[in-house]
Symmetry: C2
Subunit: 526 residues, 2 copies
């Protein structure tokens, strides 16, 4: 179906009087059609439908919900090139990148489908009755995790597929049995609508209640706050700016019944270049650094924005090589005019800080909204007295911090806020120093990388894409990988329920076919 | 050691100028000695010590931390009768109850020690490297959960042992590797000090850093807020009033870096008496109800404060029998004069609501601070229009809601806020109706009980003592049982770390000796 510009409220398409348009960031051209903007009444209708669908959707058995996720994936593939072309026009991202991102999005849905089929997501625990226990008998206790309730997902601009309408937050919430209302990102509404068509087709194909999914577009912050404040909504997923995430956090925690917000917001992803690694391969590390820095015009949450190293001749080699590589990078179009101007402003602010030296900039470009790489250096003593040096600049900008010694490296790390990642480049000879840094890195980051770069987040079981505040608003969780399903679940305990009333997987004859804990012991199904 | 009235800041005992005293609620007598009240400087010292102890304590291996918990339990038993006598004087609770509660407290510590020895608490996940994967190789990813950071625990008044200084929150936080600062409840400071002596002795016996535990007494709300706002503090456990819990929640979420608050606050624990069960055993249910209602003078979070039933002759039998049983109950002393006067006020307010009938009151008593049981009834239609009828009255007060039909039962349940528990009294013939109520009960409560009473919370693996707001401020968790350890953990992923730098249990040769997920598959140690 062609892109209509309408909202999706359950199965209904809704047009509103107020509209907005997307722009091609590479050309400045306004893209057709205009898109309806949701208001309060659309918020209420979508939330009511989600609420009405909740009990049915959450009580589907794991295999049925898995089939639905697979169907969403298949329908997204079925959109074909139209999806990629529209996403390219709306974001300026190259088709090759978008093709890869589509694969990631589809695989993410299928990974959650597999996770459901493994059944362990319910976290089942059984403490059988002990009728003869003294002084008091023990009751029969059976616990599982159930869906938390309807979830609002705020799509991100930088992954129009993998972190947007059918992205990670949507996939994990649907897997958990939560109806999802997406507040689509206003920079790629056509891409969003196509994906919403795919989700709606899967809902129909699987015979699910329409309220399982709605897509509301708007560029009003008030509508976002209204969604978060609606009584039917029980959790929020968000990827975006710190200001945006904190506004939603405030709205959610000010409700009469506060709800959890999983906002992934801000990270500079410190990278420590350790002495021996630098001594033996400064130039290789420098080249790889610049590849990571400029990948996707630096528009990743995991972009390496902050390097830390002890002064040495090898460090000078690194700086020279990295500077040379940065100087020869070609600017590329950023996602939106707004992101580009924020990048330019952030780079200018960083450059204006006391003690900051420009090591290199990418080549100039006269093309619209092109992000020009920036590599700066500064002394650790400046960082220790100026918090502004540790703030994120979203894009291909990175700051190298020169330290006098290991103690200063540690002091700089301790000064940092929470991070999605922390990286060490090291050789065997650096292990002793690395082991002294690790306790700090563990406290600061959700993922610790050795001899790699933080960009490129595997979608798997053991991945963590999260971290202490402000990397995320809730450092107990991840927004990528199967562990993300936990964000949208809560435990319910059943005491002395007869088999007839127990949920299927908790019944006495069935529980051995799912991974569970029995009287505390871990049991697999084999 | 005798009770000194001093604070415990790590290993140091600290006296302050400002003091307060405990009172015996049964006699009104002021108990000796006077207790020092903490101020901001004591808060800062305790938090700094906790921060300094954090990395050492969290990095202990599971068995060492388990030994410490066992040692705390042993030292509490070593306090002997002095602990029970002091708790009796400070709370008015009978010695038999306190003896049982001490057993619960000690077993709780030992259960967490066993949970640590089982090793699964770390939630280890391994996705091994796939160097030959196309188009891109997969890195090696290993994830474990680590301690969230120092935790502040606010002791509860109603369990001077099991939910206080070494109670459930402290046990789960220590198990998780988090240093604990207890804000002791001001009504039983002597009991608190004795338990703090036991914890400190265990810290010394195990050679742990002193900052693992501090006890601050105060009756100032500002000091509580200062604790929650301290940068070193990373989570809060609380059991108490809704106002108190929400004040801490507001302080925690207003920090520059918001932190989680696990506040267990308010629950009326609805009990549905189903038609067939009532028809065959109305009087037995009535007697058991009154036993549960008046146990511990109703001072349990799980007290059955709200009964729901469809009008029938059997319901009248139930009301008559329950009224008779309530009428013959003898008032007993409540925990504090404040709790007693709040109970009296709550009962009077409930009685004054439109349509509320007094079914029965317990016998009168001229003794100090004695709580006299109260049993009321009201029609469902009144409940549906008056929210005040669903508010908790802490103590032996319960309201029976008369419904016309099943639809009204469901409407009343839907109107309720989140609950710790929901209970069904049923027979086989009630199963069909029960299965129609269960989806609502699952959404509303953390534990669903059949043919029992919500009072009496097993401390085990499958228990859930939590529930949607306002039962708790975070319905994703439990404050009783081994699942509570999750509240104080966060995941950290290690990407491509060499064995030499991996935490011990994640090393390639060791991971098979702990329960974990390998490439998504569930693996036990056998």
């Amino acid at each position: 179906m062609p892109i209509s510009g309408e909202l999706f409220i359950g199965a209904s398409r809704v047009a509103t009087a107020e509209t907005f348009s997307a722009k091609n960031p590479a050309t400045g051209e306004t893209l057709q059609p205009a898109f309806s903007a949701a208001g309060t009444s659309e918020v209420n209708r979508a939330c009511d439908l989600a609420n009405a669908a909740f009990d049915t959707f959450r009580n589907l058995d794991s295999n049925t919900r898995a089939k639905f996720l697979d169907s969403v994936a298949d329908h997204i593939m079925g959109l074909g090139d139209e999806l990629l072309d529209r996403a390219h026009a709306e974001t300026g991202l190259p088709l090759a990148r978008l093709t890869g991102e589509r694969g990631r999005t589809v695989n993410q849905l299928k990974l959650f489908a597999d996770e459901l089929r493994k059944q362990g997501w319910q976290g089942i625990r059984v403490d059988p009755a002990l009728p003869d226990r003294k002084p008091l008998p023990r009751v029969d206790l059976r616990t599982r995790k159930i869906s938390i309730g309807p979830v609002v997902v705020f799509g991100a601009s930088n992954f129009p597929l993998a972190f947007s309408v059918a992205g990670g937050d949507t996939a994990s919430a649907l897997a958990a049995g939560c109806p999802v209302i997406v507040k689509g990102h206003s920079s790629h509404p056509g891409t969003g609508e196509l994906v919403a068509q795919a989700i709606n087709a899967a809902i129909k194909a699987c015979g699910l209640p329409e309220g399982v999914f709605s897509l509301l577009n708007t560029n009003s912050h008030q509508v976002g706050a209204a969604l978060v404040s609606h009584p039917a909504v029980k959790a929020v997923g968000f990827t975006g700016s710190r200001n945006g995430g904190m506004a939603l956090f405030k709205a959610a925690t000010s409700r009469p019944d506060p709800i959890p917000v999983y906002a992934e917001m801000s990270s500079i992803n410190p990278v420590v270049l350790m002495p021996h690694a630098l001594a033996v391969r400064a130039e290789k590390i420098a080249t790889d650094f610049v590849t990571s820095l400029t990948m996707g015009v630096g528009q990743f949450c995991t972009n390496p924005g902050f390097l830390i190293a002890i002064e040495s001749p090898a460090l000078e080699q690194f700086i020279t090589a990295a500077g040379k590589a940065v100087s020869s990078t070609t600017p590329a179009v950023m996602l939106t005019a707004g992101i580009h101007s924020a990048y330019e402003k952030g780079v200018a602010q960083l450059q204006a800080q006391s003690g900051v030296t420009v090591v290199a900039r990418g080549t100039e470009s006269s093309s619209l909204n092109c992000g020009r790489a920036a590599f700066f250096s500064v002394s650790a003593s400046e960082v220790l007295k100026n918090e502004a040096l540790t703030h994120e600049v979203f894009g291909s900008s990175s700051l190298l911090v020169r330290c006098k010694d290991e103690a200063q490296v540690l002091n700089v790390l301790e000064k940092l806020e929470g991070q999605l990642t922390a990286t060490l480049h090291l050789d065997t000879e650096d292990h002793a120093m690395a082991s002294r840094l690790l306790p700090t890195l563990e406290r600061k980051a959700g993922r610790i990388v050795v001899n790699g770069w933080p960009t490129g987040v595997e979608v798997s079981h053991a991945i963590v894409h999260g971290g202490p505040f402000p990397a995320t608003s809730d450092g107990r969780s991840t927004s990528v990988g199967t562990l993300a399903i936990e964000r949208f679940l809560r435990p319910v305990c059943y005491q002395d329920l007869p088999d007839a009333l127990l949920p299927s997987d908790l019944k006495r004859d069935n529980v051995n076919s799912v991974p569970h804990r029995f009287d505390g012991e871990y049991r697999t199904t084999k």
